[in-house]
């Protein structure tokens, strides 16, 4: 599942709560349940990760995490 992959990727770096926040913000914005998030929601998830992690992480880290997320669409 997309949300599980995203949370498990983010959690070691930012903790469970921030990882969940990124995923839940995406689900809320797209009007879906967290479990229903699909590859079509990844651009929005990437944008949320960029917005929420931008102030608390190095740019290289955020870019790398976002690239990893966008890689899920391929």
């Amino acid at each position: 599942m997309i949300h599980e992959a995203a949370v498990s990727a983010l959690e070691p770096w930012v903790g469970r709560i921030v990882a969940d926040t990124c995923v839940r913000a995406t689900a809320l914005a797209s009007g879906k349940a967290v479990a229903d998030l699909g590859v079509e929601d990844i651009p929005m998830l990437s944008a949320n990760v960029q917005r929420l992690l931008g102030p608390i992480a190095p740019v290289s880290a955020v870019d790398s995490i976002v690239a990893g997320l966008e890689g899920l669409t391929s």
Binding site: M1, A5, P12, T21, I56
Partner: protein, 277 residues
């Protein structure tokens, strides 16, 4: 020095240098006055190295990166503390008007403002992610308890009876009060905010910075306590614990640099494909 050098190794090297300085000031054979300014010079050198490491780490981040501004403020604050020690050493060696240096107090207060500003900047960066009420309430409670301890444990029983006037009493109590206001409370707030989120590796540099600030505040409170109760002797452990606090802060900056460098490696993609689409 490479940015990826181990923060732990750097901390141990700095701690050994601090220990050697402490041993020299305790067992050295130089005259007392000379020992005083040599110890101040040694402290300034160790703290100056910490500041240089942190400023170097901060400068390594891009201009628009928040970590650059936050760590730069920490580095400049520690550099101000180092300059304060240099001013103390110069005054001990050449007299109060030595080299037209300003009073060490100017540098000490610059240090409070700069490190305090760094904590405010870090707290602001976490604000969209945390429920600020609980860490703010807890940090305020800790601060109130520390102020009460300062007032009832130090000012009332020792400072007021020994001071010639209210101005002298205020001056004695000012540094511990600034330690509480600019270091203890903001560092408690940042540490509690980050802990509320469950940690994560991006939080570790701020934990090290916060622990360093708390250690610094406690060590200086202990030094003031010993001074007003007559138990203070120059060159004892309370003079060197602050150096360990700055080493912890430098270790935090190196941990931050190490994290950033991990993501610069092209092979590093910290995301695995989902188990099911």
């Amino acid at each position: 020095m490479r940015r990826s050098d181990s923060p732990f190794v750097q901390f141990v090297i700095g701690a050994v240098a601090t220990l050697l300085l402490a041993m020299y000031s305790t067992f050295g054979s130089a005259p007392e006055q000379e020992m005083g300014y040599l110890s101040a010079l040694g402290s300034a050198a160790i703290v100056g190295m910490c500041a240089a490491v942190i400023i170097g780490v901060a400068a390594g981040f891009g201009r628009k990166e928040p970590w650059r501004r936050q760590w730069m403020l920490v580095g400049l604050g520690i550099a101000a503390y180092s300059l304060a020690h240099l001013a103390v050493a110069a005054r001990a060696a050449f007299g109060a008007d030595a080299l037209l240096l300003p009073s060490p107090d100017v540098f000490y207060f610059a240090q409070y403002l700069l490190i305090g500003a760094a904590f405010v900047a870090v707290a602001q960066s976490y604000r969209p992610l945390v429920d600020a009420r609980r860490p703010a309430a807890a940090a305020t409670l800790f601060g109130a308890l520390a102020v009460a301890a300062l007032w009832f444990g130090l000012v009332v029983p020792y400072v007021l009876p020994q001071s010639d006037g209210i101005a002298q009493a205020l001056r004695t109590a000012l540094y511990p009060a600034c330690d509480i206001l600019f270091l203890f409370v903001p560092s408690a707030y940042v540490a509690l905010s980050v802990a509320q989120l469950g940690g994560g590796r991006f939080a570790r540099p701020w934990f090290l910075l916060s622990i360093g600030a708390v250690v610094l505040a406690c060590a200086r409170a202990a030094a003031v306590w010993l001074q007003v109760t007559g138990g203070y002797e120059p060159g004892t452990v309370v003079d060197y614990v602050p150096l360990l606090a700055f080493l912890l802060m430098a270790a935090g900056a190196l941990a931050a640099a190490r994290l950033a460098e991990e993501f610069m490696a092209p092979a590093k993609v910290p995301l695995s494909a989902p188990s099911a689409a």
